[in-house]
């Protein structure tokens, strides 16, 4: 019953395993939601989801990446609120973090 060891195919099998795992992540949310009736409550949950993903991704990253990163993200949000330009927000954020890191923060 034992499979032959992966041997020299190991790296390729590892890459294919990663690709399958990632593709499953990509499709499974869409497939699963196809079975969920879109009641008003589910719609409200879905409406709250994008902002929740953003905040849940960013807040712990700030904690891990440190003060410079936190200030850079705040500066980017402020820039976006004023000018509504993603490019400008990116430039502002990157400028803040490079300056602070160069200054040793």
């Amino acid at each position: 019953m034992t499979l032959p060891e992966p041997g020299s195919w190991g790296p390729y099998l590892a890459i294919v395993a990663m690709a399958l795992a990632t593709y499953l992540c990509r499709i499974s949310g869409v497939v699963l939601m196809g079975f969920v009736p879109l009641t008003p409550r589910v719609r409200r949950g879905l409406a709250a989801l994008p902002g929740s993903i953003v905040v849940a991704t960013v807040l712990p990253l700030i904690e891990r990446l440190g003060l410079a990163a936190g200030l850079a993200l705040l500066a980017a949000i402020a820039s976006m609120a004023i000018r509504r330009s993603e490019l400008l927000a990116l430039l502002v954020g990157m400028a803040v973090v490079s300056l602070m890191r160069a200054a040793g923060f």
Partner: protein, 242 residues
Amino acid sequence: MPSDLKSEPQAAAQLTLAGMRLGIRRVAVLMPGIVVFSVAFGAAASAKGLSLFEAVLMSALVYAGVSQLVAMELWRPEWSWGAIAGLAVVTATVNARMVLQGASLQPWFARHPRLVNAAHLFFFTDANWLIGTRYHGEGGRDLGVLVGAGLVLWLVWVAATVPGYLLGALVADPRQYGIDLVMPIFFAAMIVPLWRGKRGALPWIIAGIVALVTARLVDGYAFIIVGALSGAVAGAFLNDPA
């Protein structure tokens, strides 16, 4: 039920060249960050002893930056089935956020044939999700935006792996220029177009607190999915119209 989605007019299922062009324009802003990220992956891959072909193959088939960098931490010269399965599980946990990102756009995708969705979702990334969420929020329904952005990003991602691999150690520490912050900055900036008043932000606060606590308790990237799900559940029950 899926049936009340099918009752939407078929004309709603749009996928046009104009949409693809719009997607390419919207993703252009992200290109410099993607190039540097991919170059950094190429450099890490060559340092870990992958062949150039293996590195490019991984970029082409996996196409998910953070999980590729995490895989470089776990890469080994010899592979057992157990190690391969372990790598797949770690990859799935790092990319689990895609499950929720896909779910949040499902009402849009549901109008399109399954095969179309199965194909374009291969190119679904954080950048696509950000662009798609913003576009859909503005009332856009042309799937071409996601297809165009995804294809171009994929090409650039795969191509930029090569110079990173060849230059390897010559590539300066990307942290110095804040490249590790490109995606977090885009995520943070998304808060502004998503803002719908204080009431709508309550679920986000709950998502943030749960994510912070989860990040303290559990290693890895579980905090994203646990926090975001908590926010969605909170939204479903808190935002009841009074």
